[in-house]
Amino acid sequence: MSDLLGYLLTGLGIGAGFALVGSGMVVIHRVTRVVNLAQGAFAVLAAMLTATLLATGLPHGLAEAAGVLVAAGAGVLAGVVAIGRPGTEPGAALIITLGLGVLAYAVEVTVWGDQPRSYAGLPGAVTLGGARIQAHHLLVITVTLPVFAALTAFFRGTDPGKALTACAENPYAARVVGIDVRRMGLLAFGLGGALGGLAGVLLTPVQQVTFDSDVTLIVNGFAAAVLGGLTRPGVTLAGGLLLGVAQTLIAGYGGGAHQLEIALLVMLAVMVTQAVRAGSVPEAAR
């Protein structure tokens, strides 16, 4: 029983990280229709930078904040390259973000090498209902939930948030009422970068990062995001948590190395079911 509770809580911690990566993809896709394959790179970049800053003696908190800020900046830059040229189709932008993800490898390998990195998170373990879990997992959960709440409030209640939603609903109409769709796209990329960076700095103490950890992060983040049709942050959170819990349960009860495949199969099944239910897919607007 206490095993189960421990797996559940640990899974929620990991899943919260997936949800953050996925929500970054959702924010970018909502506004720009681009699926950002460089999303995992933001997380890796922030994590590596934070590890370096911590090693130079910067206190916790500051180092993580710097990592997230730089990831947000990288997000804006990625946006400039991916959608900066007017008339770039989402399909072409997808290929560009793929290139950006590989470019991030070149930068990361040059700056940080190819060895895994990590740093200490919140120390100690907490006993909850007879289950011991690492305190850091609880930290990940307690950071993620307010972030999602803030994200929802931002989209619903603030002017830039409403403008972003307008671009997501109908780019043409948004342009007509005077919203700079391109600037909103860059804002979305910046926000996506920050969310990815946050996932990176939060998850690194419990999962080491290497320059190519982005694949696992993107796959899990995308799986979470795809549950919400790539547009709904709330469902992405639920999807991420579900995925995290499922993976820890599988690993905990002896599935060992098969966690990623199961996440992938779930993702494939969901996507195919959605496609079948939607019938013939609406064609991309040209």
């Binding site: 699926v35 590989v102 694949v215």
Partner: protein
């Protein structure tokens, strides 16, 4: 393509293995194999409008099919012919459900297929596991055992020639025209009587067969296979080659594969020079893939080959 140009290209590329120094032959062989896989991707992306980020999975399936059958005593020539068939069958099994997906969903799904395959190969003891499959015999044709790089250079050349010929015939066929219509507007094509779903599956299987055939040659050439030989980046690499060369052209894959392979090779030489840091070769090749891909998509969206064709028309 003018017949004379094709003949000239054939003559030059046929003479190359004899003219090249021995140490450059592996690059030649790998270049041709890359071009073969890229031809499939180009067909898939250019004519069927589908992005596959898992093409190297079919390369791996072909290689393992050939390798495993040869290790278990099947004649190597039969093994080489089995490779594309197994890859195509795998593509049909995978593609039947997945090809309902479009755009980025399909791109992700193919990536997922690649990751699942890598994990299966890594854990499957029948395939040698993470250590790999060893002791694959060299290819033998009619009692002659192919051991030299020159021999494989000609086999790879022949494989690429066959694949390009098949590509051209598919593109020129009724099905090819239907596919082009479907890449433009699926609904319009379907309304015009094109069996879009069936054609897409056929092209997916065909592109997998190309990759599988190249994989078969690769298995006999190296004599050793491991899951690590087929990283995710290899799938990305063939997409880069296809996009850079020019989607939906017959010569694009060859041009793309040649440009990228030679550039990466040159940078590798530079990166492994004494005094260069150990990460230099990897970082340089990542940078090349990335920058070329981004630059081409942004500034030459149709790729090098169509751009050169336009330039020639303007100057003449």
């Amino acid at each position: 393509m003018r017949a004379r140009t094709v003949l000239a290209a054939a003559a030059v590329t046929l003479a190359l293995p004899l003219l090249l120094p021995e140490r450059h032959l592996p690059v030649y062989v790998l270049l041709l194999l890359a071009a073969t896989v890229t031809a499939g991707v180009s067909l898939l992306m250019g004519y069927a409008g589908q992005v596959s980020l898992g093409q190297a999975a079919f390369y791996a399936i072909g290689a393992y099919a050939a390798g495993l059958s040869a290790v278990h005593g099947v004649p190597t020539l039969a093994g080489l012919l089995i490779a594309p068939v197994v890859a195509a069958l795998a593509a049909v099994v995978v593609g039947a459900p997945l090809l309902r997906l479009r755009g980025h969903h399909l791109a992700f799904a193919t990536l997922a297929v690649h990751l699942i395959l890598l994990s299966l190969l890594g854990q499957g003891t029948w395939a040698g596991g993470a250590i790999g499959l060893q002791g694959i015999p060299p290819l033998s044709l009619a009692g002659v055992v192919l051991r030299d790089d020159v021999g494989y250079a000609y086999v790879a050349w022949g494989v690429l020639a066959v694949v390009l010929l098949v590509s051209r015939n598919v593109v020129d066929s009724r099905a090819g025209r239907g596919l082009r219509a479907a890449a433009g507007s699926e609904i319009a094509a379907a309304a015009g009587g094109v069996p879009v779903g069936a054609y897409r599956l056929v092209v997916f299987a065909l592109s997998a067969a190309f990759a599988g055939l190249a994989g078969g040659v690769y298995a006999f050439y190296l004599g050793y296979l491991a899951p690590g030989s087929f990283p995710l980046l290899l799938s990305v690499e063939v997409v880069v080659m296809a996009v850079v060369g020019g989607l939906g052209t017959i010569t694009g894959p060859v041009a793309g594969a040649a440009v990228i392979t030679l550039l990466v090779q040159a940078l590798n030489q530079l990166g492994t020079r004494p005094g260069m840091p150990s990460y230099a070769p990897a970082a340089l090749s990542y940078a090349v893939y990335a920058l070329l891909l981004i630059a081409v998509v942004r500034y030459l969206p149709r790729g090098i080959v169509p751009a050169v064709a336009v330039l020639r028309r303007r100057t003449s």
